[in-house]
């Protein structure tokens, strides 16, 4: 990669100037988010089909979920989204220290979300409210309540994997920020991470009412 004279260090050789590189990255990120939405979309389809076939079973089964924990997790994730947005705002204003504090806060809220999720999961595993052949619970009326838990675990599990992936990426961004890689002139990776993290939040905004608040 031979950079031409006057090119900033972060500018790759095949771009003419930073604005083009930044816009390309953002464009690519949005296309990636589109693929994420359609990846989850498959599970939303499964949810819709089986709920339309078994409305009563879905209602009975959803009572096994803890609304309070679900609502708390929603608040936690929204807060983490706020801190992520503020981290980017801080770096736009070149307040590097603030930006790092907000990133750390985002990581903490993400961890809280996972801890709460862990307690919910272990409670269900303990009761045998599990997918498919592992379903041993007997307290729910209706046809095949294991399907509700199959879809519940698939969707929240995939979402949880995205939270973990997001934490890894945010940690990496935090390390780069601590090495002074970012400034108000160049913060593209942080902005892309923010977009990803907001999408994770956005998906949870739909998962919460669909699983915890059925009728």
């Amino acid at each position: 990669m031979n950079h031409k004279e006057g090119h900033p260090e972060f500018l790759a050789h095949h771009f003419a100037e930073p604005e083009q590189q930044h816009e390309s990255a953002k464009f690519g990120m949005w296309v990636f988010l589109l693929t994420e939405i359609l990846l989850f979309g498959g599970l939303f389809l499964a949810y819709t089909v089986f709920r339309s076939w078994n409305p009563d079973m879905f209602y009975n089964a959803h009572l096994a979920l803890d609304r309070t924990l679900g609502a708390v997790n929603t608040v936690v994730l929204i807060t983490s989204s706020l801190t992520m947005a503020l981290a980017i705002r801080s770096i736009q204003l070149n307040r590097k220290k603030h930006s790092m504090y907000f990133l750390i806060a985002t990581l903490v809220f993400a961890a809280v979300f996972l801890v709460i999720k862990y307690f919910e999961y272990s409670h269900k595993i303990h009761l045998g409210q599990l997918p498919g052949k592992y379903y041993t619970y007997t307290g729910i009326e209706g046809n095949n309540p294991h399907i509700f838990f199959g879809i519940y675990f698939a969707m929240t599990g995939l979402h949880g994997v995205h939270v973990i992936a997001g934490m890894i990426i945010i940690s990496w961004i935090l390390i780069r920020a601590s090495r002074n890689h970012f400034s108000h002139e160049y913060y593209t990776p942080m902005e892309m991470t923010g977009l990803y993290w907001h999408l994770v939040d956005l998906i949870w905004i739909f998962l919460f009412p669909l699983f915890y608040l059925i009728g």
């Binding site: 003419a16 100037e17 930073p18 604005e19 083009q20 816009e23 953002k26 464009f27 949005w30 296309v31 988010l33 589109l34 939405i37 359609l38 979309g41 498959g42 939303f44 389809l45 819709t48 089909v49 339309s52 076939w53 609304r67 609502a71 929603t74 608040v75 929204i78 807060t79 989204s81 706020l82 992520m84 947005a85 503020l86 705002r89 736009q92 204003l93 108000h184 002139e185 923010g194 977009l195 907001h198 999408l199 939040d201 956005l202 905004i205 739909f206 919460f208 009412p209 669909l210 608040l213 059925i214 009728g215």
Partner: protein
Amino acid sequence: MVELVPEHKHHALPLRVYLGVAGALMVLTVITVAVSYVDFGGWNVVVALLIAGFKASLVALYFMHLLYDNKLYMFIFLSAVAFLVILIVFTMFDTVQRGRLDEIKDKPIKQQAEIYEKLKTDSLDVEHEGDSGH
């Protein structure tokens, strides 16, 4: 390659925008939990999805800057939603409509048969009075 832009166009939004949006999201979360205790029958899911859609729009428009960015990104985002809707709606054409033909398929045949039987009976009545046919 686009024209050279000497200065960056990225400007930070005021803090109150972020705090206001987060506050609105919290309030909407409380509302959606509250209305879930009210029984609207089949409309509960509609209300829940409307509120969720509103919250998601806030996140996308403000936190993800869709309101301020190139409208192309908004288009990408909306097309993801649109194709998701296609996936679900077209599959539902099948899953909620199965077996409908079984309900109706023998109806016209029965009607035809009744007319035929009736004609036959009538003509028999004329030829052999008192004989009610088969």
